[in-house]
Symmetry: C2
Subunit: 206 residues, 2 copies
Amino acid sequence: MKYCSSCGGILSRKQTEQDDRYRSVCGTCGAIHYENPRIIVCCAVCLRDKVLMCRRAQEPGLGQWVVPSGFLEVGESLEQGAARETREETGLIVDPERLDLCSVVNMTSIEQVAIMFRIELDALPTLTPGPECLEVAFMPAQEIPADQFAWRSAMGDGPERFSRELRSREFTIQLITFASADGTGFRSREYTITSVNDTRLGDRDR
Amino acid sequence: MKYCSSCGGILSRKQTEQDDRYRSVCGTCGAIHYENPRIIVCCAVCLRDKVLMCRRAQEPGLGQWVVPSGFLEVGESLEQGAARETREETGLIVDPERLDLCSVVNMTSIEQVAIMFRIELDALPTLTPGPECLEVAFMPAQEIPADQFAWRSAMGDGPERFSRELRSREFTIQLITFASADGTGFRSREYTITSVNDTRLGDRDR
């Protein structure tokens, strides 16, 4: 960020009056340009003990496997974003309302937070890899070699845990901090869930 | 966004080749400027059946009550952000590692996602309202009149549910979509949690 997106003026790093942080401030109009972490939405589509994985057609992680995922766009809910990424990358249409919350992941060193959802299918669907994928397939995630699993070293025991939960049918919601290159390890707090209830209030025009 | 933050060129809305969306694209250097939802972190600090609330000193919601909350900054985890907002707004220092995941909230119409945490105290702490608060106090959240509770109309039965859970000691994690002015109602999926487990792997230099 070098130029003000409002007026085109030159930005400089300055301590603002509002707080003690250094921000990009415009020398012409005074606008403060905040930088905030971005949200990644992910979807683990499960078929028995297998998970729908995509082999990436681009860097980072070119040629490596990952679940359908991408940036949340403005105007969509987290569930809609996860369903959109799943459709774009695999051709599979999933109902956003059927997605279950799976994990909330701090990826602090890359200024991202991931929200992962889970959905289970009864039968093998037709899959059509999108332009961002070399191939897509249902795989036992814990069997993918670490060097073929994108960002695997950050994920601690996440894939093994997920596979265990798929087999045992005892699911958790996890609050995770990914390991980072600076030596901070993987952390996870797992909440065992026993039941699910839906509430809907005040829909108009339905 | 009118000007390119990389080169100062003029932006225009264009359909990009990568996807079918209209983005702000620079006419000079070709940079695509993505707009992504921002993350709000919130902290419900609980003392028996009361919750630590702040009366806002600024718009929006001037004079209304809300839990400590604000934008997640780059370089901090969600828990660290929630603890920072709590300290800045109330003077109370909470340990980020003691925060429990409480809810994940779609606030699609305002292009924000909120992540709320919960922590329980044993005794009344000393509180010091920050510059963004007129006053701070522990209150039974469900007793705050709707017109004095910031954004209350979007929250469905959230405050009542939270108060019930505080009394019953049976907590849920909620995946919520706030009601919006366009007539979309409040939705919540509540996952009842029964146990919590912590995993830590691969910390170096500890």
